[in-house]
């Protein structure tokens, strides 16, 4: 479970990127985080993962405060950033070994999981190449494989499906469902509303740093025009003219 309590973040004195955000992301659910560009989604995710310091408020991951107990909190979640262009000079296998060492994944578990994950995503044969030579989709797959390798209880995924081919996209969505069914947390941001409709148990919509809506899709439909599509509701909420 992720708890975001009264979190505020500013980059300038005039405007708050995130303003007094309160959100509880329960375990056992797939949680979609929506908002237009510049709404504060990435800032929120960066604060959740310890990349950005929090100005006010607190964030806990399964009870561990990300500011007070960063190492314990970080061991619990796996994070897929919005750009997969990471560790480009390492070979795929070296990156996965690096992640295995960082998260203390035993060697025998590594052997099995690396083969399984990379074969599922179709990148097994490219593991001896440097990540720099990978396509965008392959880079995304190796980063996702790295996250899944250490079996984190909480998944925090920033636009995880961008660049994935249909088969890999389907596999990842299945994995997200299985993870939630096991009672763990899946939190992901996306722009693709169809994916939200397909996958999410709960959604939160943020705009200009403020939370506009939090609830299930059903609750959203009740609150807004009853037969409207998610796209219409999203546009209505974010003041699209």
């Amino acid at each position: 479970m992720i708890e975001i309590n009264h979190v505020t973040k500013s980059f300038s004195t005039s405007k708050k990127a995130v303003d007094n955000l309160n959100l509880t992301i329960p375990a056992g659910k797939i949680f979609g985080f929506l908002g237009p560009n510049g709404a504060g989604k990435s800032t929120t995710i960066k604060m959740m993962t310890g990349i950005l310091p929090i100005d006010e408020g607190s964030i806990t991951i399964n009870g561990f405060d990300i500011t007070k107990h960063p190492i314990e909190a970080k061991k619990i979640f796996g994070y897929v950033p919005d750009s997969p262009d990471l560790f480009l000079r390492l070979k795929g296998i070296e990156y996965l070994n690096f992640i295995g060492d960082v998260y203390d994944v035993p060697s025998d578990v590594r052997q099995e999981k690396i083969a399984y994950l990379t074969k599922t995503f179709g990148i097994y044969d490219a593991l001896n190449d440097t990540i720099q030579t990978y396509s965008h989709g392959m880079r995304q797959k190796i980063i996702v494989s790295g996250v899944l390798l250490h079996e984190p209880k909480v998944w925090i995924l920033d636009e995880p499906l961008t660049g994935l081919d249909p088969k890999s996209s389907y596999s990842l969505k299945e994995m997200m469902r299985e993870h939630a069914q096991k009672g763990y947390t899946v939190f992901f941001s996306t722009h693709v509303l169809e994916v939200v409709e397909q996958l999410c148990d709960e959604v939160a919509i943020i705009n200009e740093g403020t939370l506009l809506f939090h609830g299930t899709l059903e609750e959203m439909r009740t609150k807004f025009t009853s037969d409207g599509s998610l796209e219409q509701m999203f546009l209505e909420l974010t003041n699209h003219e």
Binding site: R89, D101, V102, A115
Partner: protein, 545 residues
């Protein structure tokens, strides 16, 4: 033309945006300048005395213009040599090129835009050599206002032709030799080539001249070689015309030569634009980064676990070795100075005299001398001062992984320490070859291993304070930053003061006493360095984005 200007402005802004970003950076740049002031004063003093004494010797035979002639030739050669690596990097290997390739720019517009940053660096080099030479020459010969005006014109125009020569060599090379099939590998080849070229150039100069005569009686030497020097100057038309612009006997001849110089520069620019338009894309397009693994290896065999500190250090080392700019600046250049040192003494018949110096000196002096040389060489290593900046915009990956900040930072210090160890081993071999006795050599080894750790810690602390994370081209970490100079100056001043104190104080007469005293100083420095590093981690680690 508007688009060319727009593009050039954008590229320049991006290239220099990190420089002098805030007032703190400006203040530090000022202090670095202050630190270098004594060196600048010494350089200007030497240059002025060489020029005035040469003029004194050459004036009776009206041969003094030869001074400007030879300096224009040297400046042209240095400009070409300096420009080749930066042109290759800017034209072909900068990561921002892909952004511009998709925009509707002509190749010549891109070439002009990408030339400005390396050309500005060329002007810096010319500011150190050409400007003071022209000023001292003018003062010594009592030249008037026309000389001053023409000198300004020549200073502005002179670097353009040698720069264009470098750019044309690079463009033609990339077009026909096609060395760039693998971008990473050719970057390393280009870098090593330019270093070998500089060493080779030095060796040839040393083989063909008597260095004592060169430095002591440069004027007489020029007088004797008058014909040869003028011949050489004529091989560089711009040097020949520039010399005549400033030294002709009548004002109208000077103006005529200036017009000729402007025409030459305009022709060179025309050639540059024309060839750039035709050649640039042919060499540029289709360059690939990285390399695919040669053969499939058993993945299972490559899976294994390591402690976190080891895995982080291995990651750092692999990244440095596989990134050409990191490899060249952190590893090859740290090897360059020892190799250059060997080349200098090997081709200068100095081995005998150095060996006899070592045998005749007492062990304290040998220890202090070898120690000082090593401090200087470690001071210029760029691994530590780029520890944080090398991560660039990917610094955030260190923030979400569950590793203590100090583990991440110490992996970077260890990396710098290992790389500096290569220089130490190489230098140790040289000292052994020169006949440094075993005991001082072992003492030297222990002391410089500690110095290397301090150097790594200091560089990392400074980079933590002033990281350059928003670079678009890896070169930006190493060029146009004052951080390495700051680290170098601190090390030179601190260790210099310690060496001077130990050398002059009467208590340290024996080699063991000297060794112990220096060990105590270094252990204290290591303790202080680690304390400061931990403070810097607390203050900056999570606040750099």
């Amino acid at each position: 033309m508007n688009k060319t200007f727009l593009l050039s402005k954008m590229i320049l802004t991006l290239s220099f945006s990190e420089l002098f970003k805030d007032t703190r950076a400006k203040r530090n740049a000022f202090f670095v300048f202050l630190g270098f002031l004594p060196l600048i004063v010494i350089w200007l003093y030497i240059l002025s005395s060489i020029i005035s004494s040469s003029i004194y010797i050459l004036a009776p035979s009206d041969n003094e213009p030869i001074i400007l002639g030879i300096l224009f030739v040297l400046t042209a050669i240095i400009t070409v040599l300096f420009s080749i690596p930066s042109v290759i990097s800017s034209y072909y290997f900068a990561d921002d090129m892909e952004n511009y390739l998709t925009m509707p720019f002509h190749p010549y517009q891109l070439v002009i835009g990408k030339s400005l940053a390396p050309l500005l660096i060329t002007y810096m080099v010319n500011l150190a050599i050409l400007a003071p030479t022209m000023i001292f020459y003018g003062m010594a010969t009592g030249s008037g206002i026309l000389y001053v005006c023409l000198s300004i014109f020549i200073f502005i125009l002179f670097p353009i032709i040698p720069f264009i020569v470098a750019a044309l060599i690079v463009m033609l090379g990339m077009r026909y030799v096609n060395i760039a099939k693998n971008k990473d590998r050719s970057k390393v080849y280009a870098g090593i080539f330019s270093l070998v070229f500089i060493i080779g150039f030095n060796i040839i100069i040393r083989l063909n001249t008597n260095s004592n005569q060169m430095s002591q009686e440069i004027g007489s030497w020029l007088n004797q070689q008058e014909q040869l020097v003028w011949q050489v100057t004529k091989l560089f038309p711009s040097a020949y015309v520039a010399t005549n612009t400033l030294t002709s006997s009548t004002w109208w001849m000077m103006i005529l030569f200036l017009i000729l110089f402007i025409v030459l520069t305009a022709l060179a620019l025309y050639l540059f634009i024309t060839i750039g338009q035709r050649m640039y894309f042919k060499g540029m397009l289709g360059i690939n980064k990285g390399g695919k693994g040669k053969k499939k290896q058993h993945i299972e065999k490559r899976i294994g676990s390591n402690p976190t500190l080891v895995t982080l250090t291995k990651k750092e080392l692999k990244t440095i070795v596989r990134t050409p700019n990191f490899f060249m600046n952190c590893i090859v250049q740290s090897l360059f100075l020892p190799v250059f040192f060997v080349a200098m003494i090997a081709f200068d018949d100095s081995i005998g005299s150095i060996a006899s110096f070592i045998q005749s000196s007492n062990e304290v002096n040998v220890l202090l001398t070898t120690f000082s040389i090593t401090v200087f060489m470690l001071g210029i290593n760029l691994t530590a001062t780029s520890s944080i900046s090398r991560d660039g915009q990917w610094w955030f990956t260190n923030l979400y992984i569950p590793i203590e900040p100090k583990t991440v930072i110490y992996s970077k210090v260890i990396t710098a320490w290992i790389i500096e160890g290569i220089s130490i081993i190489l230098l140790g071999g040289i000292f052994l070859y020169l006949g440094v006795p075993t005991i001082p050599l072992l003492m030297w080894g222990i002391l410089v291993t500690m110095v290397s750790w301090i150097s790594g810690t200091l560089g990392t602390i400074i980079d933590l304070h002033y990281p350059a994370l928003n670079w678009t081209d890896e070169q930006e970490i190493f060029k146009m930053r004052y951080i390495p100079l700051l680290s170098f100056l601190i090390q030179i001043f601190v260790f210099g003061a310690a060496i001077l104190a130990i050398w002059r104080l009467p208590y340290f007469t024996g080699v063991w006493q000297t060794f112990l005293a220096m060990s105590v100083v270094l252990v204290i420095a290591i303790y202080l360095g680690n304390h400061l590093l931990k403070k810097a981690i607390q203050k900056h680690y999570f606040h750099m984005l």
